[in-house]
């Protein structure tokens, strides 16, 4: 894997130096796209913590919207710094996650049913935001109150570079968490639960504790992602941050990349965002809806022809090729 490591190091160096690269006018735009990729890849990674163990949530918009709105409202009404507001948001998301995961686990709501229950939760959060329009702004959304100039306390900066590094850090932190879960005992336990709950319980795995735990972790990270995205865009909207639309988008990006590998969610998110940006630029305002149409079509094709995700399929292809050429036993795990 030295070649892949080297390529990874070069890519990371390029990402770190991006704000100083001589890119001219494109730089600001590229920064914007990369920030979005980092934040949404982080959120996708948070989703895949549950998804890879068979807890397919179709309602992560609930945690995203709850997180984003909590921090935004606390800042707008009481001037509470998003650092603390974010903490409150995370606590609320964990609470909601537990409130959904605990009964789902106790009453064995799994598979399709789990997906549809979470979908309902996502819609409930979206509709509540719209219904409480007096203080949430309803479907029109809400702009963050601007602070005086750049302010670390308010998490508001005029320069995109700050957000760029912050989101890069966030993304790396997300990968770290993912890796820790991947290498922990909890992973084996969760995989056993995903395969066969009754069997897992019979060997002494506390099914409910693990399910609630992983859901709380996923919800917390998703809320953090929601706060980060809100601070960058400085605007919240129920349709872009809660409900079925955004929830499905998160799932799509992850499944497209592959949810069983560390970089799968990132690859999927980068591809979907790059694709929609590319289509938007090429097609422009002439054909409204055309970009999304092609996006939807490609999603269907990818799911039919690359069911393990792009990164997942590539990774297993590489492994197969190596296994074929090398002496058996010397090939490391992909």
């Amino acid at each position: 894997m030295t070649l892949a490591r080297g390529a990874g190091a070069v890519l990371l160096a390029l990402l770190l130096l991006e704000p100083w690269l001589p890119l001219g006018d494109v730089r600001q735009y590229l920064l914007h796209v990369l920030i979005q990729i980092f934040v949404w890849a982080f959120i996708g990674g948070a989703w895949s913590l549950m998804g890879r163990f068979g807890l397919v949530s179709l309602g992560h918009g609930a945690f995203l919207g709850l997180g984003a709105y909590t921090a935004a409202l606390l800042w707008n009404f009481w001037g509470l710094t998003p650092w603390l507001g974010g903490l409150v948001a995370v606590l609320l998301a964990v609470l909601l996650g537990g409130l959904v995961a605990y009964p789902c686990s106790r009453f064995q709501v799994v598979g399709h049913y789990f997906g549809l229950v979470t979908l309902a939760v996502g819609e409930v959060v979206r509709l509540l935001i719209i219904a409480e329009r007096d203080w949430t702004g309803g479907s029109l959304g809400l702009s963050l109150k601007p602070a005086q100039g750049d302010s670390l306390l308010a998490m508001q900066f005029a320069d995109k570079t700050v957000f760029y590094y912050a989101s890069l850090l966030l993304w790396l932190a997300g990968l770290l968490v993912w890796r820790r879960v991947d290498r922990s005992m909890a992973r084996s336990a969760m995989e056993a639960i995903g395969e066969d709950e009754t069997a897992a319980a019979s060997v002494g795995i506390h099914v409910t504790r693990f399910k609630v735990g992983i859901t709380a972790l996923s919800a917390a990270l998703t809320a953090v992602g929601g706060v980060a995205y809100t601070q960058y865009i400085s605007y919240v909207n129920p349709d872009t941050l809660a409900g079925i639309g955004v929830s499905l988008r998160i799932v799509f990006a992850v499944v497209l990349g592959g949810m069983y590998s560390l970089l799968g969610p990132t690859v999927g998110t980068a591809l979907t965002i790059a694709l929609s940006e590319y289509l938007r630029i090429v097609l422009g305002l002439k054909f409204i809806g055309m970009a999304e149409t092609i996006y939807g079509l490609l999603l269907i094709l990818f799911i039919i022809f690359l069911p393990a995700g792009i990164y997942g399929s590539l990774a297993s292809l590489v492994t197969r090729v190596r296994r074929g050429t090398m002496v058996a036993g010397s090939a490391g795990p992909a």
């Binding site: 049913y113 549809l116 229950v117 499905l248 499944v255």
Partner: protein, 288 residues
């Protein structure tokens, strides 16, 4: 305190809405029960059929029954197309992927409709009478779709119970392998089921256009609600879905009058979530 007459009116409207929701839910539930896949984009197919009837009736000025026929035929064709092009290649893959493939179709249909017809709301205008009984208005634009919907459901019931194909469809829903052993081809049954499901989407579209204007994001209005009704009734359980439609419609209408439209949906969804814990196999399921 709210005037009781409003509550009575809301309850009546709930029954009328329930009739339409039941049609949507039965179509989706039929497909789910037989093929074991939830078509996330089901109500978006309905949206396309609504455009079909809008163009034939409102734009080209053809009679309503011709427009309805076009919508039904288009629905059946779309049902077959979805099955052949999207579902059959991934019949063997993971449930998540099947769900997401139809989710991709949802994005595709919404955006393609936006591209073709813009986001304008379009309405078919019918000049139909409205009756007043004791201060409650009963417009024909609600009564006629309700009546047709009930008739359609009776026809579906007869099809499923009295014909050879219907019996085969029910047999597959009960036991896939055993049915294949009995000599019924699951492939043909899947195709017929998808066509019937699509046909019902077409009919639902033709009936919904009486009361609602159509726009590319119409599916978002009824989509989540339709899945929830199917699950609430018990996936694949037809009488359950029928009852659940009316329960959800009543909650939405009555809570909508007491609080607000959004809160009506919020309460309906919360009831759904709680019922999933209390009666996970559906409203009418027998205790095991």
């Amino acid at each position: 305190m709210i005037d009781p007459i409003f509550l009575v009116e809301a309850a009546l409207n709930g029954i009328l809405l329930g009739g339409i929701l039941a049609l949507l839910a039965l179509g989706l539930n039929l497909i789910f029960g037989v093929i074991d896949i939830v078509w996330i984009a089901y109500v978006d197919l309905v949206m396309v059929c609504m455009y079909a009837i809008y163009f034939t009736v409102q734009v080209y000025g053809w009679p309503v029954w011709v427009g309805g026929g076009v919508a039904l035929a288009l629905g059946a064709l779309l049902g077959i197309a979805v099955h052949v092009l999207i579902i059959s290649p991934i019949l063997g893959s993971a449930a998540v992927n099947q769900l997401l493939a139809t989710g991709g179709l949802l994005f595709f249909l919404q955006s393609f409709a936006t591209f073709l017809w813009s986001t304008d709301h379009r309405t078919v205008r019918f000049s139909l009478p409205s009756w007043e009984i004791g201060g409650i208005f009963l417009p024909a634009t609600r009564l006629i779709p309700f009546g047709i919907s009930i008739i359609a459901m009776v026809v579906l019931y007869l099809f499923l119970t009295k014909t050879y194909m219907g019996t085969a469809i029910r047999a597959v829903a009960q036991d896939r392998e055993a049915t294949a052993l009995m000599g019924a081809s699951p492939r043909r049954i899947y195709l017929v089921t998808s066509a019937v499901g699509g046909l019902m989407a077409g009919l639902a579209g033709a009936l919904l256009i009486f009361q609602y204007s159509v726009h590319p994001f119409f599916g978002g209005q009824f989509g989540p609600l339709t899945f929830m009704i199917c699950v609430l009734g018990g996936l694949g359980n037809m009488p359950g879905a029928f009852v659940a439609s009316f329960v959800m419609a009543e909650i939405i209408q009555i809570a909508g009058v007491i609080w607000s439209t959004e809160m009506g949906y919020v309460i309906a969804f919360v009831v759904f979530i709680v019922m999933m814990f209390v009666r996970p196999a559906g409203l009418l399921a027998r205790r095991q």
